[in-house]
Structure formats: C-alpha cells, structure tokens
C-alpha cells in the first residue's frame, strides 16, 4: 500500500501528452552570475488535488567514493528508492548520516559496496565520511511530480509539463539553513510553449573545498 501512494496516475499523464506538454528550462546562477550545478528543481501543482505522475518501480542508485569525494554531490531519489555506496578508493571510508529521515553508519573498505539502503521518507539526507571531513553528498528524497537536477551549465530541464499553475522550488545544499527554498510561480498555457525560468541563489561556500591551502601542501 505504501508504494501505491506514489503510483503512477497514467490517465492524467496520458491526457496531458495528448494536449501537448511544455518543456521548462530553469537557469540557475549564483549571486555572481555563475552557473550553479547540483541544484534540485521541484515542480508542484498549485491545485493539490491535481493528479501527479510517478514512475512505476523503485530504483537503486549508486553513490561512488573516489578520490575522497562522493560522486555525485547531489542525487535525487523517490520514496522507496535505495542507495548503494561503493568505495573506489584505496582507503577506507566511514560513511555516516545523522539525518532524521535516515540514519546509518558503516565502514567501507577499498572496493567494497554497501548493502542497499532504502530511503522511505521525504527529506534531505546529508551523508559524510568521518575520516575525510570534506567528503559530503546529499540524497534528495522527494515525491514531487516533477523533479530535476541542474547540470554543470546550471540548467535543469523538465519536460512534459501539463497546462496549469505550478510552484517551482529550487533547493541547493549551500543555501543558508533555516530559510525556505526559492519558490516561483509558473503558468503553463494550453499551447504548451517552452518556458524559460531564471533563478538566482545566494550560496554559502562549498564545504568540499579545501579550507586553507596556505598551510597544507597536500
């Protein structure tokens, strides 16, 4: 029954297809105008009773650890999906999360993969390595009908948007904590024209950056 809550409403999706769906491109930049990658764009219909889309089956995605870096930095999950951590480094990694929605802690030796961890609850799961302070990845678990992650060029593309009114929310790991996500209204006309949306984010420094190059030579 749990999965049923997130099942596909095929009829609505098919209907929108037949009417002609729009494509939305969100351009995300930071305060200096530079493209922002790894931002998560979610689109939620304003009419909460409207039917939404959902993929049919749960997925398992792999987060790799290579060169003391989690890859990818941000990964999108649907409730019920699973994540597997793989260690591609020669060193051990002590993977942990204290997120309220999913807590775990284990050590992965070189070449080892973790057992699949199911992510049932919506929310952001920040995962780190206790050995390497700068290793961090975010598992973004959302049940929004449409969701996309911005690429290196700062663009997140969402297609098959039906006509209607929506809220476009943008989240990024480096947004100031305690503040609501950036949200903008979006109207898709029946004509299904492609839409462009620009979002500027004020971000904190990247926690993966090395703190002080002056004192370290490694």
């Amino acid at each position: 029954m749990k999965c049923c809550r997130y099942c596909v409403i095929v009829a609505f999706f098919a209907l929108t297809r037949s009417l002609g769906a729009a494509e939305l491109t969100v351009h995300i930049t930071d305060a200096r105008g530079a493209a922002v990658a790894d931002a998560v764009v979610t689109i939620v219909p304003r009419d909460s009773t409207a039917a939404t889309t959902r993929k049919a089956s749960a997925e398992t995605k792999v987060v790799d650890q290579k060169a003391e870096t989690f890859n990818p930095y941000v990964e999108i999950f649907r409730p019920g999906d699973s994540v597997v951590f793989h260690n591609s480094d020669q060193t051990r990694h002590h993977v942990y999360s204290f997120a309220p929605t999913r807590r775990f802690e284990f050590v992965l030796t070189s070449g080892q993969s973790s057992a699949p961890l199911q992510l049932d609850q919506v929310g952001v799961v920040a995962v780190g390595c206790n050995i390497h302070d700068r290793m961090i990845t975010y598992l973004y678990v959302a049940d929004a009908p449409w969701i996309a992650r911005s690429a290196i060029n700062g663009q997140a593309i969402i297609d098959a948007l039906p006509a209607g009114d929506f809220d476009v929310r943008v989240w990024h790991p480096q947004l100031r904590p305690g503040r609501p996500d950036s949200a903008q209204p979006l109207h898709i006309a029946e004509s299904g024209d492609a839409k462009q949306l620009a979002v500027s984010l004020s971000l904190l420094p990247d926690p993966r950056a090395v703190a002080d190059r002056e004192r370290t030579s490694y």
Binding site: I136, P177, P207
Partner: protein
C-alpha cells in the same frame, strides 16, 4: 651696594639664568622628543595589539573548530543527547580555556549552556557572529556580563550544518600581562567598554593599574590620536583603538598609555651628572666673575680713594694705575692734576726762587 658687588651679582645672575635656560631648553627638547617617540610607539603598538588579537582569534577559532569535528560530539548533537553534549562541551572548553560553552541552534536558540552560575539565556546574544560562522569560524572580543570575552563561534557539520558552538574565552588581566611580556606593548594597556549610561568601564588591564580611560575621558569619545594627559601627577601619552567586536556588543576599546615619567627615567642619571657639571661650572663662573669684577673695579676704587683725598686737601699721593685704557688715562690725568696741585701748594722758597711767574710758565 658697591660697584664690585653689583658687578659680581650681575655676572653670577647672568650665568645662573643662562644655565637655567639651557637646562630648561634641553629638558623641553628631550620631553618633546619623547612625546613624539611615544606617539609613534603608541600608533605602532595599537596596530600590533590589534594584529596580535586577530592572530590569537584565528588560532583559537581553529582550535575550537577542530574540537567540533569530534565524531562523538557531532553524533550527540545530531541525536539531541543533551547530557552528552554538555559533558563534551565542558571537556572541549577546558582544552581551549573557555569559561562558557554554548550550543546554538541554526535559529539562534541556545540548546545547551555549560554555565551554571550565569542566568540562563534563550537566544545567543551576538547574532552577527553566528551569521558569519555559517561561512567560516568567526571570533570577536565582546563585553558580556561586565567582562571581556573572546567569543568564538564555529559551525558544527554532520556533515551538513546542524548547529553552532560558541566558546567564551575570557580576555582578562593575566592575558593582557602575558601579551605585554611577549611584545613591545606599552606598560599601560587596558580594555574598556561603555556602560549603558555612557561611562567607560575598565574590564581588563595589563601590568599597570592606572585607570587611563576613566581618568582621561569619563564619558564621550576617547582620543583616537595620541594625546598627552596628566593623571595622578604623572604624564602619559594616551591612544584609544577600537577593537573588532560584535555589532551586538558594547564597544570595546583598547586604551594604550605611554608614561613620559618612565621614558624620562633613563635620562635622570644623565641629568644628575649634567646638573653636577652645571653646579661646578657655576662655582667656577662665580670665582671667575669675582676675579673679573675685582680687575674692573680695583682701578675705579683707587681713583675714588684718590678723589676723596683730593677733596680732603691731601695732594700727597697720586693714584698709581697702570692701564692702557680709558681708566688708565683718567688715572694719569688725575695723577698729573695731583702733582700740579702739590707743586702749586708747596711752601715758596725763602729766596723766592724760582719766581712764581716763571714756575707757572713751565
């Protein structure tokens, strides 16, 4: 008062006045030089002091930041294990010399406070520090509960930002004295803050116990440029420099004082030797003045005595002044006058020879 006494008095007075003026001039020049030197030293010292505090701030912030990387502490914070958090904070506070450690939520609410004696607080009182700490550890000297503290705020990441830890490290007399030992800071240094009624209150001071700021300027602006001031009979060059503080804290000012008396102390032995030399010079000058006065007044006195004898009708002695100047000419003229008078007044020869008319022709 005789001519000789007046002459000696004039010479001695001139010499004494000259010596006093010279001594005063040298003292004033030295004092002005020391004031200039003190002003320059204070400006440099103020810069060095601010830099020292910044350096120490950075080191303390780094130390506190390292403590927050402790996995057990982060786990306890993430799991809201308050007792463990308090215990760990006390332990880490001891390591960095903090007298009070606070766990601050991302909304600024106090989640844990190691202080048992201070009144409890709900919100962290220096929000600009927590705001800055979201990007990197922040530190500033703040006035809190009537004392000066280094307030160091560091983020706690697990691995996302989950809270902030604030460490309150006292900046007290001992710390300032320690800084003075390590650097070129002047002997008088104190941290002052402004109370609610605008008065300056000393919250920490170095080795010198004088309350410079409260004497100098009980209220209002403290001197931002070097200023000479007399306090308790001693002269100081004073300079106030505002320290980097929190916007929510009362202003913290470092008051630096350069004691002119202390600066003049090395010159006192030189001054004593110089005074002795002056006294010897003055004694020698008095003797010389006496000799000179005697040389000048002696012929005048002889002439005066000769004049008195003439007035009394005594032409028996002529003044014996051998000088090739105006006094000598006067003496010679007087001697000739006495001789002539003596010749005219001597008894006439019985034979009437030489006749008076003939004598007068010669």
């Amino acid at each position: 008062m005789t001519f000789r006494v007046r002459l000696v008095s004039f010479l001695v007075a001139s010499l004494t006045i000259l010596q006093i003026l010279t001594a005063g001039l040298v003292y004033e020049v030295t004092r002005r030089q020391l004031i200039t030197q003190g002003e320059q030293q204070l400006v440099v010292a103020a810069r060095v002091f601010a830099r020292q505090l910044d350096d120490v701030s950075e080191r303390v912030a780094e130390n506190v930041q390292v403590l927050t990387l402790d996995f057990a502490l982060r786990k306890a914070i993430a799991e809201s294990d308050r007792d463990t958090v308090l215990s760990a904070l006390r332990n880490h506070g001891n390591r960095v010399g903090a007298t009070r450690m606070l766990l601050v939520g991302l909304d600024g609410a106090i989640q844990a406070d190691t202080s048992e004696s201070s009144p409890p607080i709900n919100k962290f009182p220096f929000p600009d520090l927590t705001d800055a700490a979201l990007q990197k550890p922040s530190a500033a000297i703040v006035a809190w509960d009537g004392r000066a503290y280094w307030m160091v705020v560091v983020p706690v990441s697990a691995p996302a930002l989950i809270a902030l830890i604030a460490a309150a490290i006292p900046v007290d007399d001992m710390f300032l004295a320690h800084l003075q030992e390590q650097s070129i800071l002047p002997s008088t240094i104190e941290l002052v803050t402004q109370t609610g009624d605008g008065h300056w209150q000393v919250i920490a001071r170095g080795s010198d116990q004088i309350q410079l700021a409260t004497h100098l300027m009980p209220t209002g602006d403290l001197p931002g440029a070097p200023t000479v001031a007399a306090i308790n009979g001693r002269e100081y060059v004073a300079l106030a420099t505002h320290l980097r503080s929190s916007q929510s804290s009362a202003p913290i000012v470092a008051m630096l004082g350069y004691s002119l008396d202390d600066a003049l102390r090395p010159y006192r032995s030189v001054g004593l030797a110089w005074g002795i030399l002056l006294a010897l010079g003055l004694a020698f000058g008095v003797v010389a003045a006496l000799v000179i006065a005697r040389g000048v007044s002696r012929p005048v006195e002889l002439l005066a005595a000769s004049a008195r004898r003439i007035a009394a009708g005594d032409y028996s002695q002529t003044p014996q002044i051998v000088q090739h100047d105006e006094v000598g000419e006067l003496g010679a003229a007087l001697a000739k006058f006495v001789f002539n008078q003596a010749m005219m007044r001597r008894p006439v020869c019985r034979i009437g020879w030489p006749p008076r008319a003939r004598y007068n022709k010669t």
